[in-house]
Assembly symmetry: none
Homo-oligomer: 222 residues x 2
């Protein structure tokens, strides 16, 4: 388990890190929101986020994270008021813990949250496309479309970044790895394959000349 801990008070961080390390949990510390945002990447399993921090507060950090990620977020609140909780859920929090707490309680909450999230079967829906992330099955209008592994990875990456232009470089880095040395035009070939298989949803993958491609369920040409 890899945790991002966002908390301005060093002492609290130390307590948590010490206990978590004992449980074999890897903790990365951030002392403010901006640091957290710069550290966060897809390798983390959960974010522990203090609400009251100098500078950008926990709510804002949460909102910014939610713009690009569904990672589980557990709020650490100094107050136990429901008002706070409400706002927390609004901005996309998954659970709460109120100060003061013991590290063991926090750890238990983390485990529970992760379990909960992992249990809820993940599925992506975009327009007429439905993806079951557990089985990697892709449906277009409820018709099963068999995709190869690279095709599947590309489609999911497109959908995770819908309405954002992705350059060939970005696609290459993410799907083939940054150390891929082959021809960049492989991306085109895979876009072709995907479009062909996606049938009526083929127009979801739009070409952005001179830059790359973009996934969008809304048609551009109307």
């Amino acid at each position: 388990m890899k945790v991002l801990l966002v908390e301005d008070e060093k002492l609290i961080r130390m307590f948590i890190v010490e206990y978590f390390n004992k449980q074999n949990v890897y903790v990365i510390e951030a002392s403010d929101g901006y640091e957290a945002l710069s550290l966060l990447d897809t390798s983390f399993d959960i974010v522990l986020l203090d609400i009251m921090m100098p500078g950008i507060d926990g709510y804002e950090v949460c909102k910014l994270i939610r713009q690009k990620s569904d990672i589980p977020i557990l709020f650490i609140s100094a107050l136990s008021e429901d008002e706070n909780k409400l706002k927390g859920y609004e901005v996309g929090a998954d659970d709460f813990i109120s100060k003061p707490f013991t590290p063991s309680l926090l750890y238990a909450k983390c485990c529970a949250l992760l379990k909960r999230v992992q249990a809820s079967s993940h599925s992506l829906n975009e327009g007429i496309i439905r993806i079951d992330e557990d089985t990697h099955e892709v449906f277009v209008n409820d018709q099963l479309i068999p995709l190869s592994h690279k095709e599947y990875t590309m489609l999911v990456y497109f959908i995770e970044n819908k309405r954002k232009i992705l350059s060939r470089d970005q696609l290459l880095d993410h799907i083939w790895g940054y150390d891929y040395y082959g021809d960049q035009r492989i991306v085109d070939t895979y876009v072709k394959k995907l479009r062909k298989k996606l049938l009526e949803a083929s127009s979801y993958i739009q070409t952005v000349v001179k830059i790359g491609y973009m996934f969008d369920t809304k048609r551009k040409d109307i």
Copy 2:
């Protein structure tokens, strides 16, 4: 800052307008939903929307606005019940304030909301032009205008340097690269293309004879 205030009680409107004007904020008043919808255009920065109004209520107004605009909407609610908030967020509200409130609190909320929105959305707005920097989509009066890559780069460069005269050399260096060896008049050709596509906003790109061009939403000749 330009605000659309939708509120049926004249007294409340007056309080707000008075305070906001003191803060140098321009407030346009609407006493009901339909008036608000007819007044709203892309020049506004935020909408303050009372929920309980005779005729069409705030929720409905919000829904209708959201059909064509992502403008920040702050709900003014007589009740502080969570139920209301929940429904508000469903129809697309960005934040809430409960009556009674002081004008200064409302002003603070407005500023916070605007800051939040501006931090999160990658969009440029100039007069009737709106640019989504994620998708590279350009709208004139909410009509999508497809631009080629160079046209887009030029428009963004103009807007980033609005009300600054840009020489052909500067434009060449920035858009074509300092090592471009072709004809300098290519700039003129692209200005022509841009103006044509920008329709009513074509006059935003002004010719500065013997020097270059300048982007300005205000007309020079009046």
